[in-house]
Symmetry: C2
Subunit: 358 residues, 2 copies
């Protein structure tokens, strides 16, 4: 591998001049520059980041820890869209001429110390700590020795964090449903332990309120348990109770649940969206786009969160934070409207009609 000395010799200049050509930190004569550039090209020169790091004491590396926290397999499958998060972060980080070093613990928390050790050996300038679902975490003490931004999670110490605005997302979704003529809006939630779920219910309630619709607690039912046992029985039962309140649309806590609800509604002979509309949350595209009909869903803005987190981290590193920048920032995403929701004007209210007939 060619070094800066090889290039210098080939171009007939000193190594320092080659360095100047690369970094543009001092004027270089036009002809000299051309000679150097020709030499670099013909020798296939690539600077060594190790040498650069050593001399400059800046590694240009940002570490990302993902899949770090799960101790059970309970929520394992919710982590997959993190790939968008990685992409969002990488884009921003690449622009700052840095490189993202990703460590995935595969859900095994005991591997984290080794991963952190690696990060330290590489002298990462900052760390992005990514949780697989919106939750509170408590950081290992030895993670605090350098700039860090939490993503999709927060801690008790007000460490800088980027979080999804679940309240706003659900508000936008329900508000959109109301604007489309729906007034009886069912909601199948996750258990309270899920932070996101609580926030989304808040958004649901606010949307009703801001449109002057009374809250009917029978329309809101818990559709899943913290532990996955008899999931379908529970969901069946919850759905049953919601349907008794005669909704024209059912919101689900997430797309996964919506996928199940599709099946359950069909078993009851209800067609989507003719007899009843359905909405999800997450915009998990693998599900939302490929269900039939396409599932309306509030998007979890993972790419934006990744980008924002990277941006925040870079600003912390460079000390150029905005004045009074809040530690925690919320990111809201759009609602993606697909055919699972039918505007209420056109919708024939099969459901209530039928029930009244019987």
């Amino acid at each position: 591998m060619a070094t800066i000395y090889d290039v210098a010799k080939a171009a007939g200049v000193s190594p320092k001049t080659v360095s100047r050509v690369m970094n543009g930190d001092a004027p270089v004569n036009e002809k000299t520059r051309e000679a150097v550039e020709a030499a670099m090209a013909s020798l296939n020169y690539v600077p060594s980041s190790a040498a650069r790091t050593m001399r400059s004491q800046r590694s240009g590396l940002i570490g990302m820890i993902t899949g770090a926290i799960s101790t059970t397999h309970q929520f394992e499958d919710t982590g997959l869209p993190e790939i968008y998060l990685v992409q969002g972060a990488q884009r921003v980080i690449a622009q700052s001429n840095r490189t993202l070093l990703i460590a995935d613990s595969g859900g095994q928390a005991d591997r984290i110390p080794a991963l952190l050790q690696t990060f330290r050996e590489h002298r990462v300038e900052g760390v992005l700590y990514v949780a697989e679902y919106h939750r509170e975490v408590s950081l290992p003490a030895n993670l605090r020795d350098r700039p860090i931004v939490l993503v999709n999670c927060f801690d008790a110490e007000d460490t800088p964090a980027i979080l999804p605005d679940d309240e706003a997302g659900q508000f936008a979704l329900v508000d959109g449903l109301i604007k489309r003529g729906h007034r009886r809006i069912g909601y199948l939630t996750l258990p309270e332990q899920q932070i996101a779920s609580g926030l989304r219910v808040d958004g649901y309630v606010r949307a009703l309120k801001s449109n002057g619709i009374e809250f009917d607690e029978q329309l809101v039912q818990v559709g899943a348990l913290p532990i996955a046992v008899n999931e379908f029985d529970l969901l069946w039962d919850a759905l049953d109770r919601v349907l008794r309140a005669e909704p024209t649309v059912i919101c689900c806590a997430n797309d996964k649940m919506a996928m199940r609800v599709y099946g359950l509604l069909r078993e009851r002979g209800l067609a989507i969206p003719r007899d009843i509309s359905v909405a999800g949350y997450d915009n998990y595209r693998m599900i939302a786009e490929h269900l039939h009909p396409g599932l309306t869903s509030a998007q979890l803005p993972y790419a934006a969160m990744g980008a924002l987190a990277a941006d925040k981290l870079l600003r912390i590193i460079s000390g150029t934070q905005r004045p009074a920048e809040p530690a925690r920032e919320l990111v809201s995403g759009p609602v993606v409207w697909r055919d699972s929701v039918q505007p209420r004007d056109a919708a024939i209210t099969h459901l209530s009609t039928r029930r009244k007939d019987t």
Copy 2:
């Protein structure tokens, strides 16, 4: 940040002795070792991989390029299980005391050169090139300057590659169906351009043959187009034709298609698995586990592929390949049996019965 010199001073030895304690490359007196280790601990010493890389000319980094190839968004969503691939590779690489540097192009091929440049600056010792679905690729010339293993793809030059054994997977699935009493096995395939699909059909045919069942071409229908237009019409039509051949089970090219087939079968009033069984491919857990009933599916062994690819790459790097190690290696995965398939003995053949009644 403490250096080896600080540690040496604190322990009253030379830096070289500290180095020896860390690397164990020469005998060190027990008392000296203890003194050095105490000094390292109290100074919170972490060796600098940059310095080490520079002196040893070995970076200890393995690069992985993912999401590299897609030029359209057509198959974008198939890429997500790659996370398992990353985990499989990382485990093996960590064991060899190396670090995985992941570059995700986000499907934008024009970003690849910049990512490769980064890899070269970091002097990665080898590269894992991951495609998002089983396919042929042609590598950029400048990727060949160091050890490389292709994952989920292959090229015309017989570059080392790790591939899923789609033929064996589909064989195992269909063979299992036959063992469970099914003899009329429908198959909704992807278009021929999909390499995986062709191989899977081969496996389907071989399973029939090895069980003495005649191949009925009407049971095999193409259920999707290369471009996503009128997807549901096409699938509906293909399903219609398959059903006319009176199958007791329908295999789908992948779990995504199976998810759609669930919906279509229900629209026709067919219950799964009472009236007809369904199987998928990929074992895309987000779908397979959460559909109701759970979807039987042949697993794409991404974790194993990642591990095997990393292992192969490390052996190429260290020059310890097995004698006559083939360039391409196939990895097969298990079939995960879930409730969407009902053993035929117990199954009442609603479908054919009903059809004969009409």
